[in-house]
């Protein structure tokens, strides 16, 4: 339990570090090449873990290729996500980036839940609105020392 809590908590800082470092690379070599570097590092790590856990079986490759196209397209959507992130991170504060991404994710999952199940969770929608309100208040408190006109 404690391991799980520590793991979940520390995934947050690692996420912030990963996206900020990626964006720094993007600033230096361009967003496209920066995103490419991200995927090379990620693939190397993924292959290492695959090898360490015993490698892929032929049956799994078959199961993979038998998936519908939309299940296989997550990686392609991820590219768009990393590129957007690399563009936005240098222009926003770390906190703004975290909270705006969160808002998009809440909105996106509410819409998808609505489409997939035909229901909208009132509690989750209210939680999302509360985050939005909090972010607006926070931005107002931050607005004064914002000389670079973002």
């Amino acid at each position: 339990m404690l391991v799980g809590i520590l793991m979940a908590l520390s995934a947050g800082p690692v996420r912030v570090a990963a996206r900020t470092l990626n964006a720094r690379v993007g600033e230096q070599v361009g967003v496209g090449t920066g995103t490419l570097c991200n995927y090379i590092g990620g693939l190397a790590a993924a292959l290492l873990v695959l090898a360490a856990t015993g490698g892929a079986q032929g049956a799994q490759v078959g199961a993979l290729l038998g998936q519908p196209w939309w299940v296989l397209s997550g990686g392609a959507v991820g590219v768009l996500f990393v590129m957007l992130s690399n563009k936005a991170v240098p222009k926003l504060s770390a906190l703004e980036m975290t909270l705006l991404t969160l808002l998009g994710q809440i909105g996106g999952s509410l819409v998808m839940d609505g489409i997939l199940s035909g229901t909208l969770s009132a509690g989750r929608a209210a939680g999302g609105l509360l985050v939005l309100l909090g972010l607006a208040l926070h931005q107002r408190a931050r607005a004064i020392p914002n000389p670079d006109g973002k």
Binding site: A18, L21, L43, A45, F81, L103, Q105, V111, G127, G134
Partner: protein, 139 residues
């Protein structure tokens, strides 16, 4: 404009969770991750020649190139805690970690970010945000 990009990125995350979750369920986490990065690399490699180039390169340090590895590490960490805590708690604790660490990053200007010292006025809005995250976790 950049704010809209961040929100759009979040919406894409929701889509990715759905797609990659379905893939992980079908072939296993480790195998799905290899495919996700392999297909992403292929798509990015195909797109890259059409994108703007920049060759500053000088300010690049080796540690900046660890972003992809760290990104992969967050996937493993999330999967690990999913198994122990379930989805809601994992997501909420992750957001708590992200929010606190983002505040520290802004305050101290880590990773070459501009320094934005914390102001007490931010507190009220942040409390509301944390309340919202809590509601998302529990409802």
């Amino acid at each position: 404009m950049y704010r809209a990009m961040a929100v759009a990125g979040g919406a894409l995350t929701a889509l990715m969770v759905l797609m990659n979750g379905a893939l992980s369920g079908a072939v296993g986490n480790v195998e799905a991750s290899v495919w996700i990065h392999l297909s992403g690399l292929a798509v990015m490699g195909a797109l890259n020649p059409f994108l703007g180039r920049q060759d500053k390169g000088r300010g690049l340090s080796w540690y900046m190139l660890t972003g992809g590895v760290l990104g992969y590490a967050t996937v493993l960490m999330a999967n690990w805690s999913f198994a122990l805590l379930g989805v809601s708690l994992t997501v909420s604790l992750g957001l708590l970690g992200q929010t606190v660490f983002s505040l520290l990053t802004d305050h101290f200007g880590w990773f070459g970010s501009p320094r934005l010292p914390f102001r007490r006025q931010q507190g009220g809005g942040l409390l509301l945000v944390l309340g919202g995250i809590l509601m998302l976790a529990l409802l």
